[in-house]
């Protein structure tokens, strides 16, 4: 059980309000005692060490903090950690198989050159997974629309679309 109260630390804060929560994280049941005002982003990064969840803006504008909540993409920077209660949460750390085999989306991002600095990548890959789980054969416009909440400053986006197409093909096999 992790005890997390406020941003930037796992100890030493004041105004400690303890709320117990339990949810499934990357396929495993977890629980934590948290401050009611804590963001899901901070719980995942600091409480569970899942630093693949990135903070690019903290205002719901860039998509770097995207996680899947019961399969739907949400911005963890705008979400209260308390809302994770009872949910199935997926972060980038849970995408590959336990034996380390990359998810087809991860492999396709690499192959297509859709990764440069990689800071947007976890959010992009998760948003794309949510799309492909619902629509196994999306067209270019559908991909662009599904990922439109995610910014990338490095790639120019075309290679990301290509990667999603590649992965979709692979997953339909």
């Amino acid at each position: 059980m992790s005890e997390i109260n406020t941003r930037g630390s796992t100890s030493g804060g004041t105004d400690f309000k303890s709320v117990p929560i339990a949810f499934r994280l990357n396929g495993r049941p977890v629980s934590a005692c948290i401050d009611g005002g804590l963001r899901a982003l901070d719980l995942l990064r600091e409480g569970f060490g899942l630093t693949g969840v990135k903070e690019g803006c903290g205002r719901g504008e860039c998509g770097a903090c995207t996680i899947l909540l019961d399969g739907r993409p949400v911005n963890a920077c705008l979400l209260l950690a308390a809302k994770l209660e009872g949910c199935e949460v997926l972060t980038i750390e849970g995408m590959a198989s336990p034996d380390g085999t990359l998810h087809p989306l991860q492999a396709a991002f690499l192959k297509a050159g859709a990764v440069q600095c990689g800071f947007c990548t976890p959010g992009m890959v998760l948003a794309a997974k949510s799309l492909l789980d619902a629509r196994p054969n999306p067209n270019e416009e559908e991909i662009a629309r599904a990922l439109s909440g995610n910014f990338c400053r490095c790639t120019g986006y075309t290679k990301i679309i290509k990667a999603v197409h590649l992965a979709a093909e692979e997953m339909r096999r």
Partner: protein, 759 residues
């Protein structure tokens, strides 16, 4: 090496890619050390003024606060900058020069506590009317922002006799062009983490671009000898020139606090902090005049360039140099006079940003080439072709290259692939009153590496282990651009090992030679050359050892696919691991530290005539757009980007650089502008400052030209920056062509299009 290459020129996935797609890659803000404190700077909040009193007492007593750092607590000079004399204080006062000036650093147990305490600091500031207009700042009666006045740096370029040139001209065009402030907007905000070590040294992990630059400033400002400071660069989430000065400030402050407290101190910028407290692209005012003969020969050009440098000098001197040299464009113009100045204003400071002055002047130059074509009733492609630089012709600085000038090939490629001029005829054939089409061209060049900006040295190490695996170290940094992969390819090619056997480690100032900044598209060219040299030295050991083992001369042996084999009898093979093990036991060196030094720039400092850059990247762009005259929205229908890159090391990496730079160029030309009202940034977030999203993605097609330079590994020249300028200029010309209106100011936003249409 004998062609064909095994890995050079092949599309290769990033060698550090698995870490990036699995979330294992740790960026600075992801690092955890026990007892880490969080720090936040209190900013001035006024663009100009005098700080009369700073009261930090309440902040000190605030919960969780362990330290409030004020100027009096800093052991060093409290100054940073790029060129001495440095002019930017870490903590400002009494003079306030821009809204984002830091006044004090609050260090607390948690981020929330640090932020809460920072807001409790009382700063009594007597505000001055801020100087915001660079032209106004240049007036003699203007208030002095720095003791020596408001001129940061000025340079002149003189070639031929510009008056004589203009007297020959049969046609003269003249205009003033303006560009706006562009933010780097890398997705990872700036971050540092300073860790005091038990041996009295200080380690600073930093999301930075130039670790040695940081080390020097951190040492000076914390009072430690530079040898006691180690700067480590973890994964960096984009930089584009931006993670130099701001991170230097943060690293120095965090370092000072960490040493004082004996605990790790972290500073992570919020997006707002990044907009207020980092450096952006210089806004420019460019007055440009070009004279030509009726047959299209350009005979003279004159330019006055004014760059808005904001509150501190930072990289302004070097941006001045680059704008100065590039405003002539990729043309042979016999008579030139260019005056380029950077000035201080009470605005967010400007510094290095991808393109470094070249996008601004390329926009002005290429817009004027189109204006000249109209004036002459000349085909704009023909006009560019007629004046294009070639091998053996003198460029703006009088430098003549005997090789690697591929401009005309790029022009020919976009002409053929773009079906110019038929595409232009077609675009204008329709008569849709709402949707107007246009085609824009641009030609450009960009000097590679430091050139006139300073000595150009890079250190690299290559180490082969007994198992045949290879460790490469380089003094320049991976910022997402794929330099690790390119360096691995170079080492793999020379040592004959497979790419999987190569690791390229992160930069750590303890382990490589000071290599200067990672700027100016120099990593592949000068950095790659250093890796090439180090690998060649180790290759010699391997060949000599294999020679002993084969009882054959070293020249008879080749390396490849993790094997040493005889050229004449390729069945005779020894695994490279065995050769490396034998070399170790025989006493051949398996590691080399190389030091590559580009030929020094040699030029006249008054006229800027001489040998300045080791090579240039040349490019030509063609863009077709459709403008919705009801909404001002622009759709890019086609974009061809051709560049002479010398040699493509990794097609996948080069395409990625071109596509990314192109989209940033579209942002510069169409969407992005840091709005400052009364000296305060009005759009310090991604909702109000619009970077291109999926909806704006470009249909960029890259067309490679490979005119090898002897100064790069396998002939390669950098490509990280040039497409930005080409795209922006082609966009402006395409929109102007579609509407028959000359846009002289960037960005050409939908709003500005509508205003122009209303006349």
């Amino acid at each position: 090496m004998t062609a064909p290459f095994r890995t050079i020129g092949q599309p290769v996935s990033k060698i550090d890619g698995v870490e990036l797609v699995t979330g294992r890659a740790r960026y600075t803000a992801d690092l955890q050390f026990p007892g880490t404190l969080q720090a936040v700077a209190r900013r001035a909040g006024f663009a100009a003024g005098l700080l009369h009193r700073l009261d930090v007492e309440e902040a000190r007593r605030s919960p969780g606060v362990v330290l409030v750092l004020t100027p009096a607590d800093l052991p060093g000079p409290n100054l940073i900058g790029i060129l001495p004399p440095f002019d930017q204080p870490l903590l400002a006062g009494p003079e306030i020069r821009h809204e984002g000036d830091s006044l004090a650093l609050v260090v607390a147990e948690t981020q929330d506590q640090a932020e809460a305490a920072a807001s409790l600091i009382v700063a009594e500031i007597e505000p001055f009317p801020p100087l915001l207009d660079p032209e106004e700042a240049m007036r003699p009666e203007a208030r002095k922002i720095h003791p020596n006045g408001n001129l940061t740096f000025a340079k002149q370029l003189l070639k031929g006799d510009v008056e004589a040139g203009f007297s020959l001209a049969e046609v003269i065009v003249e205009d003033t062009y303006r560009t706006s402030v562009q933010d780097h907007a890398y997705l990872e905000p700036e971050a540092v983490l300073a860790v005091p070590e038990s041996d009295g040294r200080l380690t600073v992990y930093a999301s930075c671009q130039s670790p040695f630059h940081l080390r020097g400033h951190i040492a000076a400002n914390t009072g430690l000898p530079a040898s006691r400071v180690k700067v480590v660069q973890p994964f960096v989430g984009g930089s584009f020139g931006g993670k130099d000065d701001a991170v230097t400030e943060m690293g120095s402050l965090a370092g000072a606090a960490a040493l004082k407290l004996g605990r790790p101190v972290r500073i992570v910028h919020s997006r707002r902090d990044s907009f207020l407290g980092s450096h952006a692209r210089h806004a420019a005012i460019i007055h440009l005049k070009t004279g030509a003969l009726r047959d299209g020969t350009i005979v003279a050009r004159q330019a006055e360039i004014l760059l808005d440098g904001g509150a501190y000098a930072s990289e302004s001197p070097f941006v001045v140099m680059k704008a100065l040299i590039h405003v002539a464009g990729p043309y042979k113009i016999p008579h030139l006079r260019v005056d380029c100045r950077a000035v201080y204003t009470n605005k967010r400071q400007a510094g290095a940003m991808r393109g470094f002055g070249v996008p601004q002047v390329t926009f002005a130059s290429e817009s004027q080439i189109d204006a000249l074509a109209r004036e002459l009733s000349f085909d704009p492609w023909e006009l560019r072709r007629r004046n294009a630089l070639t091998v053996g012709e003198a460029n703006a600085t009088g430098q003549v290259f005997q090789e690697s000038v591929g401009l005309i090939q790029t022009l020919e490629l976009v002409k053929v692939e773009g079906e110019w001029p038929a595409c232009w005829e077609k675009a204008h054939a329709g008569s849709n009153p709402r949707f107007k089409r246009g085609v824009g061209l641009a030609a450009m060049m960009q000097g590679i590496s430091n050139g006139a900006e300073g000595v150009d040295v890079v250190g690299a190490s290559v180490q082969v282990s007994q198992d045949g695996s290879v460790l490469v170290g380089l003094g320049l940094t991976e910022l997402g651009q794929g330099s690790r992969t390119a360096m691995a390819q170079i080492a793999a090619e020379i040592l004959g090992v497979r790419l999987e056997k190569i690791s390229v480690r992160q930069v750590d100032t303890d382990t490589v030679h000071d290599s200067g900044p990672t700027v100016a598209s120099r990593t592949t060219t000068v950095g790659g050359k250093a890796v090439w040299m180090a690998a060649q030295a180790v290759r010699t050991s391997l060949l000599e050892m294999a020679g002993l083992m084969f009882k054959a001369p070293a020249e008879a042996i080749e390396l490849g696919e993790d094997l040493a084999y005889l050229r004449e009898n390729q069945e005779a093979q020894i695994p490279l691991a065995q050769v490396a093990t034998a070399a170790y036991w025989t006493g051949f060196p398996l590691m080399n530290l190389a030091f590559s030094r580009a030929p020094d720039a040699q030029y006249d400092h008054e006229t800027h005539q001489g040998q300045i850059y080791i090579a240039y990247n040349y490019g030509a762009h063609l863009m077709e757009v459709e403008v919705d005259t009801w909404t001002g929205k622009v759709r890019v229908l086609r974009h061809l980007a051709s560049h002479d890159v010398g040699k493509v090391i990794n097609p996948l990496g080069v395409e990625g650089q071109v596509e990314g730079a192109a989209l940033m160029g579209l942002g510069f030309a169409h969407l992005e502008e840091v709005l400052q009202e009364n000296g305060k940034v009005r759009n310090a977030n991604f909702a109000d400052y619009q970077i291109p999203s999926f909806a704006e993605r470009l249909p960029t097609r890259f067309l490679a030209v490979e005119e090898a330079t002897p100064n790069g590994p396998f002939g390669a020249k950098g490509i990280g920056e040039p497409p930005l300028a080409g795209t922006a200029a082609a966009f402006a010309n395409a929109v102007s062509d579609a509407l028959g209106i000359s846009f002289t100011r960037l960005p050409i936003t939908p709003q500005r299009i509508l205003e122009a249409l209303e006349g």
